[in-house]
């Protein structure tokens, strides 16, 4: 190649590289995913629903005194941290419009978060405890296994076309110790009727 042709060759090479950016459909396989990570920048990317959830009126409640109040963020209505003997747990309260896909889908998502397998509808019915929260009969679930370090106790409360989720999640021993305090918290919940 003569030196004078070098620039032309370089230009062609770079132009070819420019053409490599076209986007196409791709396929790939991944090990089965049950729980998924929080999307970065979450507070900024859901303006519509953040606005909606901020519209829900927070009920009256009485959290346990040893629960440490945290900033709930844009999507939650309440958040408390519990720490004892180097163990940690978190209580959250969140509200969403509708039934957010149904109880089974939500429970399976929680099971995924603590590394447990999904269950079917009959199993959900068997595992559900039913408690009264502000006069309504609501589903309460205690999810844990001897093989996983994390546990969840959660209540699902339908209220005026929306669904409230009250969840205690953390290290299994601490979560089980906190069950009584969490149930007392659920007992204290009272919605102001609009």
């Amino acid at each position: 190649m003569t030196p004078s042709k070098l620039p032309i060759f370089g230009l062609c090479l770079l132009l070819v590289l420019c053409g490599c950016k076209q986007e196409t459909i791709t396929t790939y396989s991944i090990p089965k995913e049950e729980s998924k990570a929080t999307a970065p920048g979450t507070p900024q990317m859901m303006p519509g629903l953040a606005q909606q959830t901020s519209g829900f009126t927070t009920p009256n409640w009485q959290p346990a005194r040893h629960w440490e109040t945290q900033d709930p963020g844009p999507m939650r209505k309440g958040r408390w941290n519990i720490a004892r003997d180097n163990q940690k747990a978190e209580v959250t309260a969140a509200a969403f419009p509708g039934d957010v896909g149904g109880d089974l889908a939500n429970v399976n998502r929680w099971l995924g978060q603590i590394g447990l397998s999904s269950i079917d509808a009959p199993t959900l019915e068997k595992q559900s405890l039913w408690v009264a929260i502000d006069g309504k009969t609501c589903r309460l679930l205690i999810l844990y296994s001897d093989d996983t370090p994390q546990a969840i106790i959660a209540a699902i409360v339908p209220h005026q076309g929306s669904t409230w989720f009250f969840k205690l999640m953390g290290e299994t021993a601490l979560v089980l110790q906190e069950e009584a305090a969490f149930r007392a918290f659920l007992d204290s919940i009272h919605f102001d009727e609009a």
Partner: protein, 392 residues
């Protein structure tokens, strides 16, 4: 041909191109205020032609905002500088032992410009959010979305078909040999908010006939595309799934309906369960990272970050690797072809956010600078020796 070679080897051309480079940096910096760093970089430095418009908020902006200055983009300047450098080198220099330093300097400069160009073309950036104790194997590009159809029927593996949003043109149907159905985009919104039909009776009724959109009565409010660095656009679309037996339904998909808070939207077809989602574009890795501890220190009495670091567990089953790594400011984890920088965190200390950069030619600028340094050393040393010999 000779005239063309003369033009491209002209040192005047070098001066003109470098002057334009100064102008591009100047106007790009001015526009960065409105566009944010990412968009300004795309428009001015990773483009062939850049247009600077007179800002509307400047004095007389109302009448002058249509006034614009065309400028060569970074790619065009880079290519012209490369051609200029190569032509000038072969026109003005003859390779000899005395001038090998100059050849080194020119080659180094060439590598520098080429590496800048290739970085713009090939570098991929994304974010990895690590929740304490949770192993994460993917990162997300917050500026690009993908429509995914996930075949969930296998008990151990998920089979993902990823469709870039650039293919989601309205009324256009997308097919793929791996899918037993086709997808038609009814509407695509580069940025949107969602609301409840019940609370917004005046809104355009939902087109969704299946999934969360139909179940919850969600309606779409299109929003202008935001280019600010700290704002994420929520891509949203109505997608109809067509089968040989007729349409299966229309789903509302949106990056707002992310899988952390909302159950996946699933449907069954031909005995298989599929999930449909519009999400931030993911890159999966053959290894996982999990956050062990996140440390965040502030300067006393202020909210100014002093130091933040993430202690992570790196697990790569392919290499039987399981070790702890501390990532902190200016000390990224370089692993495989990727660099993981400590970028941000979610208040509360349970989530750390890493910036993941893949740059296949990340070493090239170092070699280029080394080559320029060697060339300068050789050239100055040669002249020094000649000068000292003359004095003797």
């Amino acid at each position: 041909m000779k005239r063309l070679l003369k033009f491209f080897s002209s040192l005047r051309l070098t001066i003109v191109l470098l002057s334009f480079a100064l102008l591009v940096v100047f106007f790009g910096t001015l526009d960065q205020v409105h566009l944010g760093i990412y968009e300004a970089q795309k428009r001015y430095f990773e483009s062939w032609l850049a247009l600077w418009f007179y800002p509307a908020e400047w004095p007389g902006g109302n009448s002058l905002q249509t006034f614009f200055i065309p400028l060569p983009g970074g790619f065009l300047l880079g290519i012209l500088l490369i051609i200029n450098l190569i032509c000038a080198h072969f026109t003005h220099f003859r390779l000899s032992w005395q001038k090998i330093g100059i050849a080194c300097i020119h080659t180094g400069l060439l590598f520098l410009i080429v590496s800048g160009f290739l970085t713009g073309m090939l570098q991929e950036e994304s974010q990895m959010a690590l929740d304490k104790g949770q192993a994460v194997r993917f990162s997300q590009n917050m500026r690009q979305a993908e429509l995914v159809i996930i075949d969930k029927s296998d008990p151990y593996m998920d089979y993902v078909t990823s469709i870039p949003t650039s293919l989601l043109e309205e009324r256009k149907t997308v097919t793929d040999p791996n899918l037993p159905f086709s997808l038609t985009t009814l509407h695509y919104y580069p940025n949107a908010e969602l609301g409840l039909q019940a609370q917004n009776p005046e809104a355009v009724p939902t087109l969704a006939t299946a999934g969360a959109g139909a179940k919850m009565g969600l309606v779409v409010f299109p929003q202008p595309l935001s280019r600010q660095d700290n704002v994420v656009n929520a891509q949203t679309a109505y997608i109809t799934i067509n089968t040989d037996e007729g349409p299966l339904g229309t789903w509302l998909v949106s990056s707002i309906l992310d899988s952390d808070r909302f159950p996946p939207q699933q449907f069954d077809y031909q005995g298989k369960t599929y999930e449909i989602a519009l999400r931030f574009k993911r890159t999966y890795y053959p290894f996982s990272l999990s956050l062990i501890e996140f440390t965040h220190e502030r300067y006393p009495g202020t909210n100014v970050p002093k130091h933040f670091s993430s202690l992570v567990q790196l697990v790569n089953p392919e290499h039987s690797e399981d070790r702890q790594v501390l990532i902190y400011m200016n000390h990224p984890l370089r692993y495989s072809d990727y660099t993981f920088f400590q970028a941000s965190f979610v208040p509360g200390g349970n989530t750390s956010i890493l910036q993941v950069v893949k740059n296949p030619i990340r070493s090239l600028p170092y070699y280029a600078v080394l080559l320029v340094g060697l060339g300068l050393f050789f050239q100055f040393s040669t002249y020094l020796i000649l000068f000292l010999k003359k004095r003797e």
